[in-house]
């Protein structure tokens, strides 16, 4: 299986160096080549196992409860302005 590593890395929001691309390409193809072993198994009519246990709708009451204080939640922010996380501008053409 040929993997377009550059394309998949972009989907994953990962910038890879030239060296990483070169190292990863054969390694990833080895791994994907190995996992293709599952194509041998007859899975006709077998349901997928979606969870580690069979659980359906683990709901709780939707009620307001105490949660992290704003200051605590912002304490690890790489950059902030007031009570918000600060980011570069997101919308093209908008004023930053």
């Amino acid at each position: 299986m040929k993997i377009d590593v550059g394309y998949v890395a972009e989907l994953a929001r990962l910038e890879l160096s030239e060296d990483e691309m070169k190292t990863f390409q054969p390694q990833l193809e080895d791994i994907v080549g190995y996992v293709e072993k599952i194509s041998e198994v007859d899975v006709e009519g077998v349901p997928p196992m979606m969870h580690g246990r069979e659980i359906v709708n683990a709901f709780r009451e939707d009620e307001v409860r105490p949660s992290l204080e704003t200051e605590v939640a912002l304490a690890n922010a790489p950059a902030r302005v007031g009570d918000e996380f600060l980011l570069p501008k997101i919308v093209e053409g908008a004023e930053s």
Partner: protein
């Protein structure tokens, strides 16, 4: 005898009699840390003041070393990654809150493979951890720091986490007891997620009884983790009373013994363990788990797929590393992640993203989920015929640092531990002997049905009692 050598049970007895205090234990552990950590590298951070403060507040409680992916308020939580350098946990994980409720407190943070991805702790971006039984060798992984701290007598006991073998394989390498609880038995709230349909936190300890006490302290329903059911937690330690091999049906799954890559010493020790069980009154039952050979492939689709989604949260926005080079949000994501993550994490994110990507999802991810059903059915079937399975834990004893360079070869370490993780059942690693050539510890794995930890611990205890014989 130094206090750091004690296990949980002995520490509790001494504390109850007033022979020493929690502070005395912590001071002893800190002394040992200064003496040994330079060589072994089990701990990545140790807030001595916080540990001593907690010990003074709780003079009858027992300190526990914590794997560096479990949040403890006010402490770092690096997950072995550069991307979380400088991060300070804003709250306690449920397992930490449970420890504090049940006579324990956190004391020091131990090393791990980055985001729990690895089998040697060599993927940690923070420190090198060495096997206390042979410093040229790895402690196993990903809970290698926990195992090295327990095996090197640098703590009373530790918490680890296990996704595909990350408690059991390092326990085998470092001569400790490790328990991978059934899926959902222990809350993951506040534990950094790797593969959410597989992750479990569990004890790593100096004896089965200690592991039972510690598991009882952390297990149970938590409304902050929807996968934890309201199933009562028995007093595991009390139920060990009279644990015995007599009449126990030990399943011997032929697929685990036919493996060609198994080290000869591991085979000798595991077959010796079977013999000891039989001599102690167990019945050996040959069983088959026919889909075992597909488990590795299934795991290396499902775990990276889930990891690729879980690790999307590390984007440089709310916490963790933010690249100073980014000019817009897209490059902020891409560069922060490129600079923060190590090679193995990047590989798994790419594999996971690939198997979930348009055009490939059905052939890889969805198909893997179906094969997982077949693997689970194999286990359902055998637990009708036997009480516990006995298998090798890892295919080899501890290998040398730097010895396994190829990712796929490293993955094979989890050959025997992955199937039970996929099935969601519980399993242990119990010390079974030492290699003749290098005097390296080797553990065996017991596997029991889901939520049958009581039986798992009893069988493990019965084995522990005869293992030295």
């Amino acid at each position: 005898m130094e206090l750091y050598e004690l296990g949980i049970k002995a520490a509790r007895e001494g504390l109850a009699k007033g022979e020493f205090s929690s502070e005395d234990i912590v001071k002893s552990v800190i002394g040992r840390y200064h003496e040994r950590n330079g060589e072994i590298g089990a701990y990545v951070s140790f807030d001595e003041e916080q540990a001593l403060g907690l010990a003074r507040e709780r003079p009858r409680d027992v300190p526990i070393a914590i794997k560096d992916l479990i949040n403890v308020v006010g402490q770092p939580c690096t997950c072995g990654s550069k991307i979380l350098e400088g991060y300070i946990s804003p709250y306690d994980a449920t397992v930490i809150a449970n420890l504090k409720k049940n006579g324990f407190f956190p004391c020091g943070r131990v090393n791990m493979d980055e985001f729990a991805m690895g089998s040697s702790t060599e993927n940690s971006a923070l420190a090198v951890t060495r096997n206390p039984y042979d410093l040229s060798r790895v402690p196993g992984g990903s809970s290698g720091g926990s195992a090295a701290a327990v095996g090197g007598k640098m703590c009373i006991a530790a918490l680890g986490s296990d996704t595909g073998g990350s408690i059991r394989q390092p326990a085998s390498f470092c001569n400790c007891v490790g328990i991978k609880p059934s899926y959902g038995r222990v809350s993951r709230y506040g534990v950094t997620a790797f593969a959410s349909s597989l992750d479990q936190v569990g004890p790593m300890a100096k004896s089965v009884e200690d592991a039972a006490i510690l598991l009882g302290a952390i297990a149970g329903r938590d409304e902050m983790d929807g996968t934890t059911p309201d199933v009562p937690v028995p007093d595991y330690a009390a139920r060990l009373e009279g644990a015995d091999m007599k009449g126990v049906r030990i399943g011997v799954p032929r697929e685990y013994y036919d493996v060609k890559g198994m080290d000869a010493e591991v085979r000798r020790i595991t077959e010796g363990a079977l013999k000891k069980c039989e001599e102690a009154g167990a019945t050996l039952v040959e069983v088959s788990l026919p889909h075992t050979e597909y488990a590795m492939a299934v795991y290396y689709i499902i775990a990276p797929a889930e990891a690729s989604a879980n690790l999307a949260r590390f984007d440089g926005v709310r916490y963790g590393h933010r690249s100073p080079l980014s000019k817009d949000v897209f490059s902020l994501y891409c560069k922060s992640r490129a600079e923060g993550f190590g090679a193995e994490v990047k590989r798994r994110i790419i594999i996971g993203t690939f198997v979930l990507s348009s055009g490939y999802q059905d052939a890889y991810y969805t198909r893997a989920l179906k094969v997982r059903t077949l693997i689970k059915r194999d286990f359902d079937e055998v637990f009708g015929k036997c009480d516990a399975l006995l298998t090798p834990c890892a295919p080899t004893p501890a290998f040398r640092l730097g010895e396994l360079q190829d990712p796929l070869t490293m993955y094979l370490n989890d050959l025997f531990t992955i199937p039970s993780s996929l099935a969601g059942v519980c399993a242990s690693s119990v010390p079974a002997g030492f290699t003749e050539s290098g005097h390296l510890p080797v553990g065996v794995q017991f596997i029991c049905a889901g939520y049958d930890e009581e039986r798992l611990l009893r069988v493990s205890k019965a084995f522990e009692d005869i293992a030295g014989a």
